[in-house]
Amino acid sequence: MKKTMTISVLAASVALGLGVSGAAFAAKIPAGTPLAAKQEIVRNNGSEAESLDPAIAESVGANNLVRDLFEGLTATDNEGRVVPGVAESWKQKDPTTWVFTLRKNAKWSDGSSVTADDFVYGIRRFLDPKTASTYATTYGAFLLNGVEAAEGKKPVSDVGVKALDKFTLEIKTPYPVAFLPEVVSNGQLGPAPKAAIDKFGKDWVKPGNMVSNGAFVLKEWQVNSKVVLAKNPQYWDNKNVQLTRVTYLPIEDGFADVKMFLSGENDWVYQLPPGTYEKYKAELPKDIRNAPMLGLRYYGLNHKDPVMKDVRVRKALSMVIDRDILAAKITADGQVPAYSAIVRGTSGADVTSYDWAKWPMAQRVAEAKKLLAAAGLKPGSKVKFSYNTSEYHKKMAIFAASEWKTKLGLNTELENMEFKVLLKKRHDGDYQIGRNGWVADYNDASTFLTLVQCGSEQNDNFNCNPKAEALIKQGNQAQNPAQRKQLLTQATKLIMDDYPMIPLLQYTVPRLVKSYVGGYTTKNPMDRYRSKDLYIIKH
């Protein structure tokens, strides 16, 4: 079968992605908005970036910087829509072959053209075992032979990325990946400046050495102090970039972050410290921002544990936690109750729920008690909950423990530990109930499904539903997105009925952003804001 298909997913990207070139996509400023003379912003990034090398960047903070410094084939705008990046258009030639047409005016900061070869080099370098990128198998899974190359089983030259000519790139996927245009917005799959990397080695990311192709260039980098970016005069869409200087701060202490915001040294609080959302909502109503994002707080249930391997116990524990009270009174920061491994706003599957979620609590408790009795777990029995030390997690854990105590008579032993110790225990299956959380890498249900799929690295519950696994496989092979969505939703429902985990809340990002920062929206489910889309309103 060889037919030319148009992009079949993400309606917005279809509209924007085809046949448009050189159009303005950045900083869509509402007519009549007066701009400030000084277009400079200070954004707190939450922590020091572990690397500015797009192939190695892993944390949210590092990727924020990479998105400003580099541009991939596509990008996502301030409402999370896929927009053209270096590629001005793309086509799905057949179910597993995509062709991206690069714009001819895309330039590196040294003035040279960004070519298809730069993408081939960048992607091969990213997957090369010597680079040792932690994302190698995550994104490599969407490229033909990507995982095999990352694991050193095949040479990187076998990866399904090919320059058809100077400005045409072909990408082959192992199965029909309808959301590939969004995946390739990630810097890991972007171009890399071979000349600079060959010349400076590891130091190519330092100020003065770095050659980049994004809307901004690296001016200054003081570890644990700041990273300063300046507008890139070589950037193809340079005339639509408003900000001339962007300063990223690496402040981890939420209270220090807020104080710098209040004293005017910071325009963007990374995340409000726990328990302060209501206060600042009242005090700074113009600056407070809060919106759900694609992230899930949940408690993992270790299926290797003799008590937790009984589905009746797992179901009872999940049923009695009142998510409404948890969201409204305990965390009190606008988070949304969750009953599925997939959160609202995720493409590729519908959010599932449980019938009991709508029952009155008394009925839920009665049912849960029956389940526990049938499982032979008597009131007074002990369960063990492990979490990493943090006020926030502790508050939630105490609430869960009190729900299990008052409603089921179970005694919970709360065990707190350092983060890395918890990670080790979770990965090794050395726990009973464990705090867990996940933020989507890309907007598709498959990122959340990795938490509950058979043998998945991210599955700390060690559950496996072979029927659901077959449905997911079938869905991934499906060429019709609607059919895939239906299969993945069905699979999610099947898995969630096994109660592999206790979904609790969908993440929100409560933060303060100065009211004069334009371009910030509350419709950005991945919370990815390129500074290209931001501007300073006269104030």
């Binding site: 075992p129 198998t137 050193g152 644990n224 040294e265 990670l423 080790k424």
Partner: protein, 306 residues
Amino acid sequence: MWSYALRRVLMTIPTLLLVITVCYLMLHATPGGPFDTERKVSAAVMANLQAKYHLDLPLWQQYLLYLKSLLQGDLGASFRYADWSVNELVGNALPVSLAIGGGALLLSVIIGVALGIVAALRQNSLIDYFVMLVGNLGSAFPSFVIGPVLILLFAIWLSVLPAGGWNDFDPRYMVLPIALLTFINVSTIGRVMRGSLIEVLNSNFIRTARAKGLPLSTIVFRHALKPALMPVVSVLGPLAISSITSAVVTESVFSLPGLGKLIINGASNRDYTLVLGLVVLVTVFAVILNLLVDLAYAYLDPKIRY
């Protein structure tokens, strides 16, 4: 005295080796490794990472490799800060810590000794009570309470100083952290100085000096000060080291890019090389400071000769 100093410096080598070995073993025995993150990487990627940083070798081989590069003055590559070597990280953070810690220490000695002298001479007067009150407050309130209060007052209400951050030794960014550390150190130095001077002033040779009719200033500055400074010098060593190591809180409150920040991030990220590098640095510092303190004793007390 020089041969004594040389012997002391040579003694550092076995001390350092012991500290490195113990720290090395403790770090590797701690659960969780540098590449354990919320997103668990696949076995193959983990193997890639381990190979990149030689963590795939047997522990003793890694240890010898580390010692070898240490001899060449190379503290290794950082795991947490992938683009930087430990040498670069320490090189960037050390001047910040020295400026804040050293500045605070210098100020605390001047102010602390002066206040201690005044309080000792006016024992049980209002001035004495005031000095003691300041001293007790500085000891009683932890820096994570005083720091934010200073920020609230000077950065948010009065808007005269920045709330935090660092800008190339711009004094405006150094005032509050130095003030905080000075306040805390002054409380220790002031109390020690007062107590010690009172004791010296009550000793026989001072009584003799008084009997000879010497003026008070001569008694204090020529005869009493030197012996009274002994206990102050003793606390200076530990104070200096703690202004670097316990600067963690100050650096967090004021968002400073110093060594404390590196220690915390290094430890929580299992950045073995970074933590070891900092431990080596702090050990060398401690040895040098202790040596200086011991040499100062010889200057202050004629009975001590090396």
